[in-house]
């Protein structure tokens, strides 16, 4: 048994979308499925829970860097071309056409070891040109606020307001993981790219003829 497992889980086949009834039941568990806070009952539907935008963003800024060369970036180097901003409730972040910003879910999410998820854009926003996520899979056992990669593909600036419902988290039954995976850190806001830490870079470098 893992720490995040409750005792009220009905047995379901892997890959099955969880019904509203099951989701509501499991959200009541102490250390089971957590998508918090649920501000309105209507957020929870059959198979998915609506997710909203948080207050923290990471935006790109102009810097002296000529390119992003991931293997050569150190931890602080990433902050040379990205900066954090907090947008208080009631304010807005204006995302201009073809601009990109990292946001996060307002909801804190913790998936037990037998549930995985997918992040989907809300179609109404999608039709206005807003894309909210590219890395859409959420692993069983994951904890934190999800980073959203927000991009305005349209021609008109879009106002991003904290707490607006921009997407949904589709939840499915998964094969049980043997134990709760350890985290590097538990994100509560958008996280800077960690591509510079990818061990593969060294192997790629080693293949260089020089």
């Amino acid at each position: 048994m893992t720490e995040l497992e409750g005792d009220r889980k009905p047995q379901r086949p892997t890959g099955a979308v969880l019904s509203r009834e099951v989701l509501l039941q499991r959200l009541k568990g102490d250390l089971d499925l957590i998508v918090s806070p649920i501000l309105e009952d209507s957020q929870v539907g059959d198979g998915s829970i609506d997710i909203s935008l948080g207050t923290r963003f990471i935006r790109s800024r102009r810097s002296k860097m000529t390119k992003i060369d991931f293997p050569k970036l150190d931890k602080d180097g990433i902050r040379d071309f990205q900066e954090s901003v907090v947008v208080p409730f009631g304010d807005e972040y204006i995302l201009h056409p073809r601009s990109f910003v990292l946001g996060c879910t307002f909801e804190f999410i913790a998936l037990p070891s037998d549930i995985c998820g997918f992040v989907l854009s809300r179609s109404s926003y999608g039709r206005a040109g807003l894309l909210i996520a590219t890395a859409t899979f959420v692993h069983p056992g994951w904890r934190g606020c999800l980073t959203l990669e927000l991009e305005n593909l349209g021609e008109i600036p879009i106002s991003l307001k904290p707490l607006s419902t921009v997407g949904q988290l589709v939840l499915l039954n998964a094969s049980k993981l043997p134990e709760q995976p350890a985290a590097k850190l538990i994100p509560v806001g958008p996280t800077f790219t960690a591509l510079n830490e990818d061990p593969r870079w060294k192997k790629i470098e080693a293949l260089s003829p020089r």
Partner: protein
């Protein structure tokens, strides 16, 4: 003849008005909407009052002193200087607060602080100010726009007063308290350290309710005061090399020395009593988190355990907080928090017994000691409704703590009785954070991959606490 002519004065006032208005607008743009809105409104009204004042005064003076150009010159210059003094205050005292406010990003905790203050008064606007000085402070300006306009009115004729009446009416509609909570920039990302703000907010509650006026002991401790006066009278006076050996009693009467000692002691007594009131109010408001935060704050400050004119020594204050926690039902169980508090009490009691109070500090300490029971009884009357006693702690903190230990931001909980999800209380969140930090950080660190930096994980704990405070507040206020 004046060295600076009236034309120069009037032109300088115009330039300063222009510059201040421009600065205010620029600073306002850097702030999120509604932050410091009342403060900015007050600044706009004061500048408008200054402009109206000078316009009407100059017209009046030209009409009445037209036949005496020299006197006209003097009077216009004088009135311009009155206006410039007020503009100077805006520039030097008020705009820096607005500028510092625009640098902060503590919007995560602001709604909770605002709600806590509004339990006592809705007539308040709060702004959080990060400082590079490592200090927490409360600055509360009461009806400040009206007071600045009053200064102008004192120098006004009837027509000017009538012209200022409109601005004054608008100024009266501004919230009574414009307050600024200063906190160290270094603590910006520490939800645990920001618990000190409860003490600063308690200063506002004290000021608003006028508690200290009622609670300050009316008489100083007689014996120690007489010793102080005797010591002062026989203290030597510096007379320079080769000068006569003089003491205060050879130069001043006993009554004069007594009076000076009395003034110094009563001022110090007021300062100390106000700190004690704020400490006790804060302990009742947020429970053990207040003691733990101050314990670390004093350590971070590297402060000597000495008394100052403004604050009692650290051990005196920590002991006061711990004694109050004991009275609130803590330190009688074998719970982790009680064990930590009991250990703290032993250390502080031992340290406090070695404290030496000299001169005015001795008089003040003894006066407070004599009146302590009465003082605490009166403060407890105010706190009884919201006190975060041991039973409330045990009802709310353990569930929050379990979530934190599992690396989960404790935002809301399922309430079986009412079948709804309820937001966690801010007090439970902060106390769970401190209990985890002080007693069981290892279990929290077990959530992370091996080899990471411990301080990064501690920072992560603070982020989880900020998230829980922010999101639980939204849940509470969601309509």
């Amino acid at each position: 003849m004046q060295s600076i002519d009236q034309k120069t004065y009037l032109s300088v006032v115009d330039q300063k008005l222009y510059a201040i208005r421009k600065l205010t607008k620029d600073l306002q743009r850097a702030l999120p909407s509604q932050v410091s809105a009342q403060f900015i409104r007050a600044l706009v009204l004061i500048t408008s009052a200054v402009e109206t004042f000078l316009l009407f005064r100059v017209n009046y003076l030209r009409a009445t002193l037209g036949a005496d150009p020299a006197e006209l010159e003097v009077q216009i210059a004088f009135n311009a200087r009155v206006a410039l003094r007020i503009l100077g205050t805006i520039h030097q005292q008020y705009l820096p607060l607005l500028h510092a406010g625009s640098r902060h990003n503590e919007y995560l905790v602001y709604p909770s602080i605002d709600r806590a203050v509004k339990l006592f008064t809705s007539e308040v606007e709060l702004t959080l100010i990060p400082d590079f000085e490592y200090n927490y402070a409360f600055v509360g300006i009461e009806t400040f726009a009206l007071r600045e306009i009053d200064k102008l009115e004192k120098h006004s004729d009837q027509a000017t007063q009538a012209a200022l009446a409109g601005v004054k009416k608008d100024a009266a509609a501004i919230k009574r308290w414009i307050t600024f909570l200063h906190f160290p920039m270094a603590d910006r990302d520490s939800a645990l350290s920001l618990c000190i703000l409860a003490h600063e907010l308690a200063h506002l509650v004290d000021k608003h309710m006028g508690l200290y006026q009622e609670l300050i002991p009316k008489e100083l401790d007689k014996d120690s005061f007489e010793r102080l006066v005797a010591a002062r009278r026989s203290s030597p006076v510096q007379t320079g090399p080769g000068g006569p050996q003089l003491t205060l009693e050879t130069l001043f009467t006993k009554a004069w020395v007594e009076n000076q000692c009395y003034l110094a002691c009563t001022q110090m007594l007021e300062n100390w009593v106000r700190e004690i009131i704020a400490d006790i109010l804060a302990v009742h408001a947020i429970g053990p988190a207040c003691y733990f935060a101050f314990n670390d704050f004093f350590a971070y400050m590297g402060s000597e355990n000495r008394s100052s004119r403004t604050h009692p020594p650290a051990a005196f204050r920590l002991l006061g907080m711990l004694d109050e926690l004991k009275d609130m039902g803590y330190m009688i169980s074998s719970e982790m928090v009680d064990i930590a508090l009991t250990a703290g009490l032993q250390r502080v009691t031992s340290d406090a017994t070695h404290l030496k109070y000299a001169e005015e500090a001795e008089v003040v300490q003894k006066t407070i000691q004599t009146n302590q029971t009465d003082l605490l009884a009166k403060i407890r009357k105010v706190t009884s409704k919201y006190s975060f006693g041991a039973s409330r702690y045990q009802d709310s903190v353990p569930t929050v703590l379990n979530r934190l230990k599992a690396g989960i931001a404790p935002i809301e909980f399922y309430d079986e009785k009412s079948d709804v999800m309820r937001p966690a209380s801010v007090r439970a969140i902060l106390n769970a954070g401190w209990e985890l930090y002080k007693t069981d950080l290892t279990s929290f660190y077990a959530n992370f991959k091996a080899g990471g930096e411990e301080l990064e994980r501690l920072d992560n704990l603070n982020q989880l606490l900020f998230k829980a405070v922010e999101a639980s507040e939204v849940k509470r206020q969601w309509r």
